[in-house]
């Protein structure tokens, strides 16, 4: 592009000329001082990594949570980014459109913050304390169990069924949570007990 070069030098002359006559002397020099080329500062610097598993489908991709603050040090941890774990044999760092956006699930504007209570017939939820909620729920459940429990069948065989209260367990909870939930539900004799595997 010799043309370009010759043109450039030509322009410099002209430019200089105009500069001299017009504003060059008037201290507009800084208008020329452009920001030097640079890339965005790497945003994961000084974050804390935590190995986790994508909670969506059953491929169970390995993910790394990047947080400001470290739970293991007793700090509050704010998750700033989530990315696939390249060490994981199944996903090898890749993630699908859901997994790649996990941070927005954690940070969703519709994440629940407080226990809420809706009175019969009401058109709104109202805040309720955990303690109040637990007592109220335990009472409602016990009363229903006591009132409708089937201890024995017509032949006097102990059948131990509580069929008037049911439960759906979440198949996105951990095995450990599931085991606790299992003990709770089957221990109470809840027979209407299923999880997403049913549907």
């Amino acid at each position: 592009m010799n043309l370009d070069l010759s043109r450039r030098s030509f322009l410099k002359l002209a430019g200089a000329g105009v500069a001299a006559t017009s504003v060059g002397a008037m201290g507009f020099g800084e208008a020329e001082a452009a920001e030097a080329a640079h890339v965005r500062p790497f945003k994961l610097a000084t974050t804390t990594e935590t190995r986790n598993t994508c909670p969506y489908c059953s491929v169970a991709c390995g993910v790394i949570l990047y947080s400001k603050g470290d739970l293991r040090k007793g700090e509050t941890a704010d998750i700033v980014h989530i990315e696939g774990d390249a060490d994981h044999p199944t996903n090898r760092g890749t993630l699908c459109p859901k997994g790649a956006a996990l941070k927005d699930f954690v940070k969703s504007p519709t994440r629940l913050q407080y226990p809420m209570h809706r009175k019969p017939g009401s058109d709104k939820f109202e805040r309720i304390s955990w303690d109040e909620a637990f007592d109220r729920m335990a009472r409602l459940m016990k009363d229903d169990r006591d009132a409708n429990f089937t201890a024995t069948n017509q032949n006097g065989l102990p059948v131990n069924r509580w069929s008037t209260t049911g439960m759906l367990a979440a198949s996105a909870t951990t095995n450990e949570t599931a085991w606790a939930t299992f003990k709770f539900a089957k221990g109470l004799g809840i027979v209407g007990f299923d999880n997403q595997a049913r549907v």
């Binding site: 598993t53 909670p55 489908c57 059953s58 169970a60 390995g62 949570l65 603050g69 739970l71 704010d78 060490d87 044999p89 199944t90 996903n91 890749t94 859901k98 699930f105 969703s108 994440r111 629940l112 407080y114 226990p115 019969p120 017939g121 058109d123 939820f125 309720i128 955990w130 909620a133 637990f134 007592d135 109220r136 729920m137 335990a138 409602l140 459940m141 016990k142 201890a151 102990p158 069924r161 069929s163 367990a169 979440a170 198949s171 996105a172 951990t174 095995n175 450990e176 949570t177 606790a180 299992f182 003990k183 004799g189 027979v191 209407g192 299923d194 999880n195 997403q196 049913r198 549907v199």
Partner: protein
């Protein structure tokens, strides 16, 4: 999955049918891409829609939803007739040679013993001929006219390519091309893998869909081998785990089953489960049932489970029906017979069929408790959202508790993936505001109820009072404590069976795995198949060694897989009768003359001689079943059945509707539509941009797929005068929805039994909460009927009508 995600790279042919792996499991589908790129594997997609999986397939064939059995039976027939059978495998590892009782037959779409009143079969004739020795009689030459193989051939006879085209709408040439590609995998050195999901399960004959493919895989010798298997792509991250742990109304942990009223006492219960071998020298692993059961009962009730009270057998509910599955529960709710309901991370208002019935049911509850990290339509089912949730709030007397829980990022524990890997994860974030762990919430409700029972007494308080809850902090059991409980430990010294003087496991120590469990109350174990997950070596689910010797895809050092860290189920079947791998390049295990060894944990006793013990050790036969005896309610062979709502009649028996033995409640029977009023075949599915009803709460995924739509063919759009991107109304006998129309060439009308069948595709990700535009779900349309064996709702096939329409109105816009 019988195999692991990472094993798919070893396959030669992937058939995606009854699923849409690329969209629903993109990162698992990676391994299909690997197999294609590095093994030259081929991919076949058989689906009513040309999906994103089809977009990368080597061959795509269309099929009408709900007709997979006919298609697969057709393929089996093709393979048998063209001698494309892995003969040695099939003869040795299946029950093909067993003789079946006289009297068993199939006619007019029905097997022998059908009772239309009971909507059930008398299954007595569906069994083998058992000799005096108590063992099954067989004819290894496969000559006997009553042997399973010949009965199967007879059963498959009608499924000609012409019949397949007539039923499925799959053009004959396309069917034959698929059948031909599949049949190539009958050689020991070529394997096919089947990847399926809810496209097969959500049918009134879902179990039989899967059986049909399993049988095909057995005929081709593809079960237990690398790159083969039956791979159910489970939906949720831990749906496998919750099933393994028995969080279902008919199950206990580890596939131990709930007692029924027939199980009047512990011994009766045992007698019908502790299966004896049907073949001499066979393993029949369920012989150990009692060890697992007693250890489970000890885990539940500790010291209160004693020999003298049958280990608390009467603490366990005895069922008067096969199961209190979700359809039955919501039917009871609808009848006003349910007062309370807990939804933990579950959204039935969008997940269960016939939404109107679900909402009405919930409206009759006294109280509803929801536990979720996110808003759900269920927690707000009483809230009016105009057309999107048109309820009379004031008239709904249900008291609702909405409890905020932590999410994956804020909690620790293990999830079991589709490949049965139990993977441990750690908490990385602080929960928002007052969100609590599910374990805390469950513990609080339980402890407070138990307090009330201590104080007030009440209905049969014993199982509640005696439930073992001996955690360091009963208010919130830690994941480690619970994991150790699942693994199991010795309650008193456990002696070595080979040397009674030696202590095998000292009291208080974790058992190494379920092989150390006892039926004398000296061990406890929450879930036997998981045992080994957290033993004295530590938390095996947290292992992170990703080495893979010889790139088999096994990754034995990565986390823990049940059972016993085994990665490929039935892997004994990967070797021939001499114990040599069918395909030396794809060895999993091998018999070295004295023991089995190789890349995976052998799925057989390491010293069981090849000729003597069959590979399918969980079965009494030691072989896989091409004929299931009486174990499936709707037949020992898969037979074509139409969906309950079908655009065409069953060609074998026009009077037969759906699955003849599926349970249908009266009110629902009245709500089944006919094709004259609802001419189009509706189906439901997921889109890759969303995960169920969660990601609509997430602005990124909402931007990628913002608004509810239905997909129809160009032909149907022209017929109905529907513009691409315009509003349409879709309605069934049970409900009506409004959606944007996506007019596409990816759906084409199918010619079934001589008439065109138009398909209406309805994705399932929208509701009235979250960031995405408000919308509806297919469950407003789907029928309240389920599979005959497991009662999974028939959400994949229902009848609808469609017309151009206008935008739905939200509450603000109403009145």
């Amino acid at each position: 999955m019988t195999n692991a995600w990472t094993d798919i790279k070893n396959t030669d042919l992937v058939i995606v049918m009854g699923g849409n792996a690329a969209e629903a499991h993109p990162c698992g589908f990676k391994w299909v891409t690997e197999a294609k790129a590095h093994r030259g594997a081929k991919l076949i997609v058989v689906d009513p829609r040309y999906t994103r999986t089809a977009s990368v397939a080597d061959y795509y064939a269309p099929i009408r939803q709900g007709t997979d059995i006919a298609f697969l039976n057709g393929v089996m027939k093709y393979c048998i007739e063209n001698n494309k059978v892995q003969w040695e495998y099939m003869r040795a590892f299946t029950n093909a040679a067993y003789i079946v009782k006289d009297g068993f037959a199939y006619k007019d779409g029905l097997f022998t013993g059908y009772d239309p009143e009971k909507r059930d079969y008398d299954r007595d004739s569906w069994d083998y001929v058992i000799g005096e020795d108590g063992f099954v009689t067989s004819d290894p030459t496969l000559q006997h006219p009553r042997c399973v193989w010949n009965l199967l051939k007879e059963h498959l006879a009608p499924y000609t390519p012409e019949m397949v085209e007539r039923i499925c709408g799959t053009p004959k040439d396309k069917f034959l091309k698929v059948a031909e590609m599949i049949s190539e995998c009958s050689t020991p050195t070529k394997t096919m893998t089947s990847m399926y999901a809810l496209g097969w399960t959500q049918h009134s004959h879902g179990s039989q869909n899967i059986r049909a493919m399993a049988m095909l895989q057995l005929i081709l010798g593809n079960i237990g081998v690398r790159g083969g298997g039956m791979n159910a792509l489970r939906g949720h991250s831990n749906i496998q785990g919750l099933t393994d742990l028995g969080l279902m109304s008919h199950l206990l942990t580890g596939y131990l089953t709930m007692p029924s009223e027939k199980d009047t006492d512990f011994e009766t219960y045992m007698s019908s489960r502790q299966f004896k071998p049907l073949v001499p020298g066979q393993t029949s692993y369920w012989q150990n049932y009692r060890k697992f059961m007693v250890s489970f009962q000890k885990a539940m009730w500790g010291d209160k489970a004693r020999a003298d009270n049958d280990w608390g057998f009467n603490y366990i509910s005895k069922l008067d029906v096969p199961a209190y599955d979700v359809l039955r529960m919501f039917e009871l709710m609808y009848q006003g017979k349910v007062n309370g309901y807990l939804c933990q991370g579950f959204n039935p208002v969008l997940a269960f069929p016939n939404r109107a019935k679900i909402t009405e049911g919930l409206s009759k509850l006294k109280f509803l408790i929801t536990m979720d990290p996110l808003e759900t339509e269920t927690a707000r089912f009483w809230e009016n959202h105009g057309d999107f949730n048109d309820v009379d709030t004031a008239s709904i007397q249900t008291e609702v508790f909405q409890l905020p829980t932590t999410c994956f990022a804020e909690e620790e524990g293990s999830l079991t993936n589709s490949g049965r890997w139990l993977q441990w994860h750690w908490a990385g974030g602080t929960p928002p505001a007052e969100a609590k762990h599910d374990t805390y919430i469950i513990a609080q409700i339980f402890l407070r109820m138990r307090e009330l029972y201590k104080k007030e007494g009440g209905a049969f308080p014993d199982p509640v009072l005696d439930l073992s809850w001996d955690y360091a902090d009963p208010n919130e059991p830690t994941p480690e404590e619970l994991a150790k409980e699942i693994n199991g430990r010795a309650l008193s010294d456990v002696m070595d069976p080979t040397d009674p003087t030696k202590v095998q496991v000292a009291a208080g120590k974790q058992v190494v795995n379920f092989s150390q469990l006892r039926d004398d109350g000296s061990t406890m174990c929450g879930c036997w198949i998981y045992s080994g997950n957290f033993n004295e070596q530590g938390n095996n689910m947290a292992r992170r060694d990703n080495h893979d010797p010889d790139d088999t895809g096994a990754y034995l050092g990565w986390t823990f897989a049940w059972p016993l860290n085994r990665r490929t189920l039935y892997n004994r079947a990967s070797a021939d009768l001499q114990g040599k791998p069918w395909d030396p390049t794809r060895k999993i295990i091998e018999w070295d003359g004295t023991k089995w060894s190789g890349y995976d944990v052998p799925d057989i006793s390491p010293t069981a001689k090849p000729g003597e013990v069959g590979p399918f050790i969980m079965n009494q036969e030691g072989t896989a079943r091409l004929f299931t005896r009486g174990m499936m309610r709707d037949g020992p062979f898969p037979a074509h059945m139409e969906p309950f709502e079908s655009p065409v009649a069953n060609v074998f028996n026009p009077k037969m509707r759906g699955n003849p033995v599926s349970r249908v409640f009266e009110t629902d029977a009245a709500q089944l539509g006919l094709s004259d009023e609802f001419p189009y075949a509706g189906t439901s599915y997921r889109l890759t941009e969303h995960f169920h009803y969660w990601t609509k709460h997430n602005r990124v995924n909402s931007a990628l797929q913002p608004e509810f739509f239905v997909e129809i063919s160009v032909e149907l759009a022209e017929e109905k005068g529907i513009e691409n991107g315009s509003w349409v109304r879709v309605w069934s006998k049970r409900g009506s929805i409004k959606a944007k129309a996506v007019v596409t060439k990816r759906i084409r009308p199918l010619i079934c039994d001589g008439k065109p069948v138009h398909i209406v595709g309805v994705p399932l990700h929208w509701g009235f909460t979250g960031s995405a535009k408000k919308g509806f779900g297919p469950n407003s349309l789907a029928a309240f009927v389920g599979d005959a064996n497991i009662d999974t709702p028939e959400s994949k096939a229902f009848l609808v009508n469609i017309e151009p329409s206008t935008a739905p109105k939200d509450k603000e816009l109403v009145s």
